[in-house]
Amino acid sequence: MNARTLATLLTLALSLLAGCTSRSREVVVYTSVDQVVSEPILRDFEKQSGLTVRAVFDTEETKSTGVLNRLVAEAAHPQADVFWSGDPVRPFVLIKRGLVAPYESPNASGIPSSFRASDGSWTGFAARVRVLLVNKNRVPASELPYSIRDLADPRWKGATAIANPLFGTTTMHVAALFATWGDEQGRAFLKSLKDNQARIASSNGEVKRLVASGEVAFGVADTDDAQEALSEHAPIEVVFPDQDGIGTLVMPTTVSLMRGSPHPEGGKKLIDFLLRPEVERRLAGTAAHVPLRSDVQTPPGVKRAGDFKAMQVDYSRVADEMERMQPWLKGWVGL
């Protein structure tokens, strides 16, 4: 084979690579919702709409910040049409940087107004809730923890776990606590966690594993982690913390349309699809997400948003708090 043939073949191969699919009939979504949960829903959308969905998922370890940072890194030339976030706070990072285009979906009308932006820059649905996972073998029923503060209880020294607050839903949780308690109390609490030798896990999934195996007595994670643990027949008790105090934190998943994206029409269609009640119902069924709509049926064991006391938060303020506390938090984590 001579050089010219090789060069021709190579060019052909590269064009094959470059133009693998037709550009117009597709939509690109970056999501920090677990791939296991989100992918089947995206496949359904593909079937119903005839559009091809190209997705970027997050790795567990960099949960929701990896994808977020890719969105920021690509700001000069946006690749994604939709950001489907696993929490309601990170979209604010993008909104503040002007990377989001407002879109009021017709399907958003059933969602309570406290869980969506009035200008449509973000819309929440199917939420996760921050709960305590307790190992029944290590913790007798009479001694169940009831508050987030129990993570720092000296009774459970070295026996509690929390995921790295630089990533995932834990970031939001910590920021919400700081927003509610104020800086001083917030820092004191985190410091007391360290003093109590609480385990800093790499992810909520790891917290779940640690509790399920009994390596720790209890830890804080999300409702879908709890549901997974239960389905794996782990000896777990689920506690909605601070029911007679500040309340339990609700974290809706959200969708936002990206500004300047390659396929805005497809993006809107995807958002409309995701905001349908069926999707909320499905997420309640498969991933124990808490529906925000009052009329969505839930399987047994899965609460609805109205069934428990929710923490009162202004997500925008929590977002600010998140960015503000970053440097201090990095120091606290150590790297």
Binding site: L9, E60, E74, L335
Partner: protein, 508 residues
């Protein structure tokens, strides 16, 4: 032609590194402040220590095993080599997954104690040592097979087999030993997925995690990676000094049937030891297969695997072809000591030992512009990433073969009026075809097994199989994840089998 090849390499590998230097100077002091605390240095020492340990372990076992395989009468040596070598071509993460299904808490042979051992430094060492020892074994074997038989025969007239092995064979393989040490060290220190999975904090993983911090600061990530730069340069220095442009090519494995050194009374022990090692390496793969079958993972596989295998194969094949072509030009230039070749060879080595997140961030910075979207938004960016990272494989494979090829064939072609490109295509390439094909195959397999390079910038919806496996591992059904791992193993095995067939065909 060297200029053209050099330009491609510079575009792929040097630009991203340079762009990060500019990032660093932009964020400057704030970025460097991240190095002031003790923790980064703790992690750095831990990483370096682990890599040194794995390297030492690989040498301790790999050198004698390499000698045994190449030159002793160990039964079934060829098969043993194959079994021992195969796991090297898989992402180490797959092997870790297999060990998890064996010794993890819910594993086939798992207990509390085994799980605790696995999820820690000992586990990381075990997985990586088993994964990378074949580098040493193979380079030593290849080196010995290419050794002039008369050197060994002369020694055997006056010495026992043991003395021949230790005083003649092992020293003769010293460039191979040095090179394997460098490669194992480089592979271990940039390994991300295994320590992350086994919950051990290592330095490159911390860098990767920093890129996922809330405020995107590539300058900080680069600053964090700075300590790795002198390390890379040190590796490069060792490589120049102790390895250099030496040849490891062999005409064929016929040398294995050449009159072997008898093991005598040691044969049963050696056989047991060597074969145990070979079979242990395969244990995780078998466990994965078992796990995938139980729990219906294999049946579910088509639903979960998507286009990922096709993505892996296509981007890998194209990247391997580019790498083989670059390898032909640069490897030939390096072997013939052309001007500029040394610098380009060093650049390709530097890109190989640079941690993947650094390269990844730089690649995004360079290629995500409006006029390069055809590259960035397509599989081409994967090809660029692979080329940046693995060109060294092609360069080394070709240069080691060309070194064995007499210069006069090229000179007579020049005298006959052929310009450089024609000489390369019509004389150098055909005469060194096996080396080029070997380089292509090796590059392809490295691309297939890659995780760390691709994970940062793969185009949406077009992840290679390794990335898909990695992202699904955290929350996917375990039997499906095991099935995906089996798919990766099968893919690699198929590519290797076809490649070896092609190599056999090209031997005239």
């Amino acid at each position: 032609m060297l200029v053209a090849a050099g330009t491609v390499l510079v575009l792929a590998a040097l630009l991203p590194l340079l762009s990060l230097v500019t990032e660093l100077s932009a964020t400057g002091r704030a970025a460097l402040a991240v190095l002031r605390g003790p923790r980064p240095w703790e992690l750095f020492l831990r990483s370096t220590g682990l890599s040194a340990l794995v390297t030492a372990g690989a040498l301790v076992v790999g050198v004698p095993l390499g000698v045994l395989i190449a030159r002793s009468d160990l039964p079934g040596r060829r098969m043993l080599w194959l079994l021992h070598l195969f796991p090297l071509f898989l992402p180490p993460f797959v092997l870790a997954l297999g060990w998890f299904h064996l010794f993890g808490r819910t594993g086939l042979l798992g207990t509390e104690a085994t799980a605790r051992t696995l999820f820690g430094g000992a586990g990381v060492f075990w997985v990586l040592w088993l994964a990378f020892t074949p580098v040493c074994t193979s380079l030593v074997s290849l080196s010995l097979l290419g050794l002039d038989a008369s050197l060994e025969e002369a020694a055997r007239l006056v010495g026992t087999p043991a003395r021949v092995a230790s005083r003649i064979l092992a020293p003769a393989a010293s460039p191979a030993i040095a090179l394997s040490a460098i490669v194992v060290f480089a592979l271990t220190i940039s390994e991300l997925a295994v320590p992350m999975f086994l919950r051990v904090d290592v330095f490159p993983a911390a860098v990767f995690a920093r890129l996922g911090g809330i405020d995107y600061a590539p300058g900080e990530a680069f600053a964090l990676a700075l300590p790795l730069v002198p390390l890379s340069l040190l590796l490069l220095f060792f490589e120049r000094r102790f390895v250099g442009p030496r040849s490891f090519a062999v005409a064929g494995l016929r040398g294995m049937s050449r009159d072997p050194l008898p093991l005598g009374p040691w044969r049963p022990v050696a056989t047991l030891a060597a074969w145990s090692l070979g079979l242990v390496s395969l244990a995780p793969l078998l466990v994965l297969l078992v796990r995938a079958t139980r729990g219906g993972g294999l049946q579910e596989l088509p639903r979960w695997v998507g286009r990922a295998p096709w993505t892996s194969l296509l981007s890998g094949a194209v990247a391997a072809t580019v790498i083989a072509t670059l390898g032909l030009v640069l490897g030939h230039a390096a072997a013939r000591r052309s001007r500029g070749a040394t610098a380009l060879d060093a650049l390709s080595m530097l890109a190989f030992v640079t941690p993947a997140p650094i390269l990844g961030v730089g690649l995004i910075a360079v290629w995500n512009r409006s006029w390069t979207q055809a590259v960035y938004a397509s599989l081409t960016i994967l090809v660029v990433g692979y080329v940046a990272r693995y060109t060294v494989v092609g360069v080394r494979a070709v240069s080691s073969v060309v070194l064995q090829s007499p210069l006069h064939f090229e000179e007579s072609a020049a005298v006959a009026g052929a310009r450089f490109s024609r000489r390369l295509a019509r004389v150098v390439l055909p005469l060194n075809l096996r080396g080029v094909i070997g380089g292509w195959l090796l590059a392809f397999v490295f691309c297939l097994r890659d995780l760390e390079t691709a994970v940062l910038f793969y185009p949406a919806g077009r992840e290679p199989l390794t990335v898909r496996l990695f992202t699904l591992e955290a929350n996917g059904p375990p039997s499906v994840v095991a099935a995906l791992a089996v798919a990766q193993v099968t893919l690699t095995g198929a590519v290797l089998a076809l490649g070896v067939l092609a190599l056999r065909r090209s031997a005239r």
